[in-house]
């Protein structure tokens, strides 16, 4: 089904801040099978020049999941038919424990590719102080029936 083109250019304001913890970073690192001590041991992280442990490069997906743009029924998205098309993270700095971050998302593109619908969402992840830590580009594809 065609997605609602009126969503292109629409920006969704941030929700509640997400507070990053050492435990969550370690849990995520465990889940991707990555034993790197810089995700777990503050001393190892300091030796690498970081003030505390840091999150893996794909960790921001945890923060940006549950995008309000996708939840709006007016978009017309059939979630059962959605696959992940592309993903990109531009890191200004690594995410660290103690960061309280919020996401501001903008729908930048919706178009048809054959029977499929492609949608691109850009998200800025900022601390509650306004510091930009990461920008994400998320492309989803709704497969046509």
């Amino acid at each position: 089904m065609a997605l609602n083109r009126d969503f292109v250019g629409r920006t969704f304001p941030p929700g509640e801040p997400y507070e990053v913890s050492r435990v969550k970073i370690r849990e995520f690192a465990d889940a991707i099978g990555d034993r790197n001590p810089i995700y777990r041991d503050p001393e190892a992280a300091k030796a690498a020049g970081h003030p505390d442990v840091i999150a893996p490069p794909t960790f921001p997906i945890v923060v940006s999941l549950g995008n309000p743009a996708l939840a709006d029924p007016a978009l017309g998205l059939n979630y059962a038919m959605v696959v992940h098309g592309e993903q990109r993270f531009e890191h200004v700095r690594p995410i660290r424990p103690g960061d309280a971050v919020v996401c501001t998302s903008t729908v930048t593109e919706i178009r048809s590719i054959g029977n499929n619908e492609k949608m691109v969402i850009e998200t800025e992840i900022r601390t509650t102080d306004g510091e930009l830590v990461c920008k994400t580009y998320n492309t989803i594809v709704e497969r046509g029936a």
Binding site: A31, G33, G49, A80, H84, F89, E90
Partner: protein, 141 residues
């Protein structure tokens, strides 16, 4: 943020040794919990098949994370990865018995200014390319 690989020690075309990463259903259950993505196509076979998939498939983000792990293990410091993007070209099918294997290789595609390089990644599973246009920009020492 200090990568262990030195910018001056790599050239365009420098290859990073290929690695294999096994994936089984337990990995996907853990990833669902840690990421918050509980789409049942990643853990329930009947749902996967009902939407036309051959079997349970890995989260695209799990596959992307393995590519990230490959790059950060090479660079030494995960904080050295300043940009990382992929296109998901085929699903990684993860059968209940035996699971799947991801084979990842990479090479330095470009040397940028200020100590950064572009690493191009190749990821395959069951003979299929599962990631395309997979590139990481890494700040080297």
């Amino acid at each position: 943020m200090t990568a262990q690989v030195k910018y001056d020690d790599v050239e365009v075309g420098t290859e990073i040794p290929a690695r294999s990463y096994p994936v089984d259903r337990a990995n996907l259950v853990m990833y669902a919990g840690a990421s918050g993505d509980f789409n049942p196509i990643h853990w329930r076979e009947s749902t996967a098949k009902a939407v036309g998939l051959p079997d349970v498939i890995a989260h695209g983000m799990f596959t992307m994370a393995q590519g990230g792990r490959y790059v950060t293990d090479w660079a030494g410091d995960p904080g050295a990865v300043v940009d990382y993007g992929v296109r998901f070209s085929a699903p990684v099918v993860v059968p209940d018995e035996g699971g799947a294997v991801l084979e990842i290789s990479g090479k330095v595609e470009e040397k940028l200014a200020d100590g950064k390089v572009v690493v191009a990644l190749t990821a395959r599973s069951a003979g299929q390319k599962v990631l395309t246009r997979a590139k990481a920009v890494v700040r080297l020492a």
